[in-house]
């Protein structure tokens, strides 16, 4: 018999940061792919940059903090913080170089295809130059705030992620003098792409080029000897430590403000920048060579979103996929009745998020509704959800809202919503000390003819009507008593009305979710026989928790088939003989962001399926309040199992993780299957079938007195 493998061996784990970079590389592949419509390619190229921004602000900054504190602890893959930072830098440099090439290539194809033509400064015609000169004078100059001419000590407090122009100036009369320096921040309030006059088609100049070209005007009596656009990324990994915060609102505001002063973790400069300027910048920012990124093109490719969001050029985009009426609500006019009749599954964005917004609106205006309780993590600007809650409270209903102030980078916005809800009379809780409340849960309590009935919505995604059109998430509406009791208990926990009193159907992070998942994995292994081999299908954003990965290794060794659909980080190494030989990992990056967490266990023929807001990551299992809940209705479970199978059948957008860590396209065999497209077509088909259902005569009678 083979020797027991050492499941702590670093060989068996991928580093989480490097794995994340591979995820971003998969996004980049979409941006480079000729199979993707051009405007969509720009979107992916933009996402690569906005993703990297956050990665540097949080992850790289965190590693640097560890390093500064003398940390040498190795991660499960055996790397020290210093080793990780070195590898990250190498990988990120390569990625940015590819991205720049990709952007140039996409720009060229875009222009050739009759789309917008993005100009570099060298491309400007005389006419365009003239236009831009006057544009600078009238539109840009009035909002410029140059920062200092002579002594740039200490380094000016420039916010992270903004673009700046650094000028090396010499007095006009004494060109030999050493350079004097000035920083001109590029205003973030202006459009980054400026339409300029052209013979035909849309021509766009880039804002920072225009500022760099003309900024010298600000300094009369000086010549511009050198100029460079630059961009810094600051450490934003300032944790909100709320364990004994007297005023959490104030604390969060302080933290947001303090981000302006944090250390610089990345410096981006143009590839051909003046060496003297670059050296000065490095000194000011106190960054090492590894942290300097020379970019041959846009320093902030996230701005490409502006082009993506310009109207028009439909033929260069994916066709629109308007969300469909959820299958379980087809033919139901009365939402309350529909939920009473059966559990309702909502598979966004194939199916609309609108019913949730509608439910909240109904609840706010329904005299029989006595209370609404809800968690809010990230909400949209002008959120109809928030408006409904405020209205409900003003109408005298008990409204309890947990607004998670610690949702990273949404803190400031959430502070505003929290205040607005408080003003409306809601009972607002700003989160739980030491934990982020990541669970998505809504509870509506209604006094009906036959007593109190509670309606619950539990989901994998946020109550954000905007992102619900871009993220693939799953929600469940139910009036089941066990579910309702757990939802009540969860809110009693959040409000401090009660300690945990035991759950009927939920499992909760941070106390029990990991143990529960491990139990489910081990049970699968125990129930597996050669005739009835066990099967686990799991879909999540990231797989990083070591204990769970080890549980999966043991299950694989016990002969269980394990199919993992992991969109982002995957620290598990599949396909290692004797350890993970039965584990397959695929990732799908397509037009919608895969965001649902779905966990399926064959359980010896008694299928079990769970949904959750939690990934298999340490932070979700230990540092957040999350809910794992089962889908018990047979039909809904079958539908979700079907969806999981669709993900694993994808051979268009899916990439498979090889044992060596490379993500390779799934070999095409049989007909092409593109999971997101198939899921959307199914939603359309269901809605169409309902429309064409045989005409039914519904006699209108006097409403039964018992009916609302």
């Amino acid at each position: 018999m083979a020797k027991e493998p050492d499941l702590d061996s670093p060989e068996l784990f991928f580093n989480r940061e490097l794995s994340w970079l591979e995820f971003n590389d998969r996004v980049l592949r979409e941006g480079l792919s000729d199979d993707v419509p051009l405007v969509e390619r720009l979107k992916f190229l933009a996402i690569v940059s906005s993703n990297l921004d956050e990665f540097f602000m949080v992850r790289v900054a965190g590693l640097k903090q560890q390093l500064a504190a003398g940390g040498t602890a190795r991660d499960p893959s055996g790397l020290t913080p210093a080793e990780q930072l070195a590898r990250i830098s190498r990988r990120a440099h390569k990625m940015l170089a590819e991205q720049s090439v990709g952007i140039r290539d996409a720009f060229a194809q875009l222009a050739a295809a009759g789309g917008p033509r993005v100009l570099s400064a060298g491309d400007w015609t005389a006419e365009q130059r003239g236009f831009l000169r006057s544009y600078f004078a009238s539109e840009i100059l009035p909002v410029l705030t140059p920062l200092a001419v002579e002594e740039l000590q200490p380094f000016p407090i420039l916010p992270g992620l903004g673009l700046n122009v650094l000028l090396g100036l010499t007095p006009a009369e004494q060109p030999g003098e050493p350079l004097k320096l000035a920083v001109v921040p590029v205003p973030s309030s202006l459009a980054r792409f400026i339409p300029v006059p052209a013979q035909e088609g849309l021509h766009l100049a880039v804002l920072e080029d225009v500022v760099a070209e003309h900024a010298g005007q600000l300094f009369a009596g000086f010549e511009v000897a050198a100029r460079a656009v630059f961009r810094i990324t600051r450490d934003a990994d300032v944790p909100v430590t709320d364990d004994d915060a007297a005023d959490l609102l104030q604390l969060v505001e302080d933290v947001v403000r303090s981000r302006r002063r944090q250390a610089v973790v990345r410096l981006a400069v143009p590839a051909n920048a003046d060496a003297r300027l670059v050296q000065w910048l490095k000194d000011w920012c106190q960054v090492a060579d590894d942290d300097v990124y020379e970019v041959d093109g846009l320093l902030d490719a996230a701005a490409l979103y502006e082009i993506v969001n310009r109207p028009g050029f439909e033929r260069l985009r994916e066709p629109d996929w308007p969300p469909q009426t959820p299958r379980d609500l087809l033919g139901h006019d009365d939402l309350w009745q529909a939920i009473q009749d059966h559990d309702v599954l909502l598979f966004h964005p194939y199916e609309a998020f609108e019913p949730i917004v509608r439910l909240l609106g109904l609840a706010a205006d329904d005299a029989r509704v006595i209370a609404i309780k809800m968690t809010l993590y990230r909400v949209s600007a002008d959120s109809p959800v928030v408006a409904a809650l405020a209205r409900a409270s003003e109408k005298g209903k008990q409204v309890t809202v947990l607004v998670e102030l610690k949702a990273r980078f949404d803190e400031a916005r959430n502070v505003n919503w929290a205040r607005r809800l408080e003003d409306a009379g809601c009972h607002v809780i700003y989160g739980i000390a030491g934990l982020k409340t990541h669970a998505k849960l809504l509870l509506v309590i209604r006094r009906e003819e036959h007593g109190i009935r509670r309606y619950v919505h539990a989901a994998t995604g946020n109550y954000n009507d905007r992102t619900a059109r871009l993220y693939s998430d799953i929600g469940l509406l139910t009036a089941e008593r066990d579910f309702a009791a757990d939802a009540s208990a969860f809110f009693n926990l959040l409000t401090g009305y009660s300690q945990a009193v035991g759950w009927n159907v939920f499992a909760i992070s941070p106390t029990e979710s990991r143990a529960r998942f491990i139990e489910l994995i081990e049970r699968e292994a125990a129930a597996s026989t050669p005739d009835q081999p066990g099967l686990i299908m799991a879909k999540m954003n990231s797989l990083q928790d070591k204990a769970l990965i080890q549980a999966l290794y043991r299950a694989s060794t016990a002969g269980i088939r394990i199919l993992l659909n992991v969109r982002g980080i995957c620290c598990l190494r599949p396909g290692v003989e004797g350890v993970s030989g039965n584990i397959e990992v695929v990732s799908i990056v397509d037009r919608f962001l895969e965001h649902a967490r779905v966990f399926y266990f064959r359980n010896g023929g008694h299928d079990e399926l769970y949904l959750s807001s939690a990934d298999w990551m340490v932070r979700n299992l230990d540092k957040r309040l999350e809910i794992i809940f089962p889908v018990t209705a047979e039909a809904l479970r079958a539908r979700l199992i079907g969806a999981l199978e669709t993900y694993f059948a994808d051979n268009v957008k899916a990439r498979r993780l090889r044992p060596d860590g490379a993500w390779v396209p799934v070999r095409r065999r049989g007909n092409p299957v593109r999971a997101q497209q198939k899921l959307y077509e199914e939603a359309v088909e269901a809605a169409r079938a309902a429309d064409q259902a045989p005409l039914q005569f519904r006699p209108l009678t006097r409403p039964d007195e018992a009916q609302p």
Binding site: D366, A367, R368, I370, A371, Q398, I445, R447, E448, E449, H450, G451, I452, R454, R481, A484, A485, S488, A489, N492, T495, G496, Y497, S498, Q499, V501, G502, N504, T511, P708
Partner: protein, 533 residues
């Protein structure tokens, strides 16, 4: 659109707030005829009231303040649902505190909750009633001798059920919090502290043996958080939703030995429980352990219910109007035990009871009293003559104080007072403003005493001869008269005269003069053979 008004078919909302030694818990449930009972909210928060009471004999201001904060939150939830009937109860931590009244008052002022301090017999009764419901169909209590043991924070409640009938019930100062308080000696090594605990518990168990036949116990039913935890730890892994589980003595011995070796901190780490609950674990385990080994059984059935469930059951029964036959039987049995102690005439007592119940049921429309009053009437009838044990002169007065100072299983203290007064007025003087004890009763209770005593007097008159002659009668109401047609008795002189003499209160109370006639009509509707329940 307005909220629907409550009607008979609409479910009722009931709430139970339970102030224990370690925590304050609440349950809000919805009770409907068709939907059964649905628990809407279940909350629990740690408030260590017992800590102060058991160590210093009074509740500290801090603990009271903490309790009030929690109770205000409870009230918010109750108000949110507009719960119609709420029972807030407290047990030993409040009961034994010298400043219990102040606390009850502060609760009332701060929250409007009317806090009832439960006596041990009532607490036991509620737990046992929850146990009966929970084990129904799993454990047949009707042919075994069962000991129900609940180790709480302040005390251990023991109830002996012989073939389903409660024959003994007592409370002992063996609570997990109390034991810990008494033995909280951080310097002591763990093993020594455990030895001391074992010793103290063994002493109490010896005392229990003297008043309860533990050697006859055939089933041990354990109730309480720690017992539930033991079941989870020793049982096969399964759904924790199981209400009744079995813990074998060997597995329990091992668990107790394992846990006793560890400090509360280590237990907390090992089991992922809060320190506050692991501190109580070993003391509670040792009590169950001591009891288990004092009986001949080799396993205990752990029942995951509590006094709260019994309270809810009570409230549900009240809401739906149904009676708990086992409770009625237990109360009656407890009254008979007291009667025996005072050498009552059981045949007369039972017979008067039967007649009184028969009259009570006949007069339901007139008195409008509850099944609970019916039970009190039964108790009063059973014990109306126990005063004769002291002296035959003014024996009704002796009956009064003997009953008033007895603990009757299943009755609250106020209820015992009502029964005592009903017995007191079974003869001679009717209630008067000069009767101080009577005046101390709440108004509603005074009315009930009048109505019940009026019936008891007539029933007693019908068995004046103590010969149980009058067995069958039927009742007719005619112009200011209630006529009792008695069948099968040839000479009713004695009864007729006694009724005339003792019908005074009845006439005052019901506005009906009672007359006894012989039923001679052969065509009389067939009646029940005997006027029993």
């Amino acid at each position: 659109m307005s909220a629907p008004q409550s009607d008979a078919s609409a479910p009722k909302l009931v709430g139970v707030v339970d102030i224990g030694a370690n925590s304050i818990r609440m349950v809000i449930a919805q009770v409907g005829a068709d939907r059964g009972m649905e628990v809407l909210e279940r909350t629990q928060r740690a408030v260590r009231l017992g800590h102060d009471t058991f160590a210093r004999g009074r509740l500290s201001q801090r603990a009271m303040g903490a309790a009030l904060t929690v109770l205000r939150d409870c009230k918010k939830l109750l108000d949110g649902y507009k719960v119609e009937s709420v029972r807030a109860v407290a047990t030993s931590a409040v009961r034994e505190a010298a400043n219990a009244d102040a606390f009850v008052d502060r609760v009332a002022m701060a929250t409007g909750l009317d806090l009832e301090v439960l006596d041990p017999p009532e607490e036991s009764r509620l737990t046992v009633s929850a146990v009966r419901q929970a084990v129904h169909g799993i454990l047949d209590l009707s042919n075994t001798c069962a000991l129900v043991a609940e180790v709480g924070g302040g005390s251990t409640l023991l109830t002996l059920l012989d073939r389903g009938i409660i024959t003994a019930s007592a409370s002992y100062a063996l609570g997990s919090v109390r034991l810990r308080e008494h033995l909280a000696m951080p310097q002591e090594p763990q093993a020594r502290a455990v030895d001391l605990l074992r010793h103290q518990i063994a002493n109490v168990v010896e005392a229990i043996k003297r008043s309860m036949p533990l050697d006859r116990v055939q089933s041990l039913v354990a109730v309480g958080e720690e017992a539930h935890f033991a079941a989870q730890q020793t049982g096969q892994r399964g759904p924790s939703a199981e209400v009744v589980s079995v813990v074998e003595i060997k597995a329990f011995d091992r668990l107790v030995a394992d846990c006793a070796r560890l400090t509360a901190e280590k237990l907390s780490k090992k089991y992922g429980l809060p320190l506050q609950s692991t501190e109580r674990l070993v003391p509670a385990f040792l009590v169950y352990h001591g009891l288990l080994h004092a009986t001949p059984v080799d396993r205990m059935a752990v029942c995951d219910v509590s006094m709260r469930d019994g309270l809810l059951l009570d409230m549900v029964r009240r809401a739906t109007g149904e009676d708990d036959p086992e409770l009625v039987e237990s109360v009656a049995q407890s009254a008979r035990t007291i009667g025996e102690k005072y050498r009552y005439d059981p045949r007369h007592a039972e017979h008067v009871g039967d007649l009184a119940i028969r009259l009570f049921d006949e007069l339901q429309r007139e008195h409008g009293l509850t099944p609970r009053h019916r039970l009190l009437l039964r108790v009063a009838a059973t014990l109306h003559e126990v005063g004769g044990f002291v002296s035959n002169r003014a024996h009704h007065k002796h009956s009064y104080y003997l009953i008033a100072n007895s603990e009757i299983f299943g009755l609250r203290r106020e209820e015992v007072q009502v029964a005592a007064h009903v017995a007191r007025y079974h003869r001679r003087a009717v209630p008067k403003p000069t009767h101080i004890e009577f005046l101390t009763l709440p108004r509603e209770d005074r009315i009930a005493v009048n109505k019940l005593a009026a019936i008891l007097r007539v029933a007693d008159a019908l068995d004046r001869g103590h010969a149980q002659q009058v067995r069958d009668f039927h009742v007719e109401r005619r112009q200011g008269e209630l006529v009792l047609y008695v069948r099968g008795v040839s000479d009713l002189t004695l009864e007729r005269r006694a009724t005339e003499e003792k019908g005074d209160l009845f006439e005052d109370t019901y506005g009906l003069k009672v007359r006894v006639e012989e039923d001679v009509s052969p065509a009389a509707e067939p009646r029940r053979a005997s006027p029993v329940e």
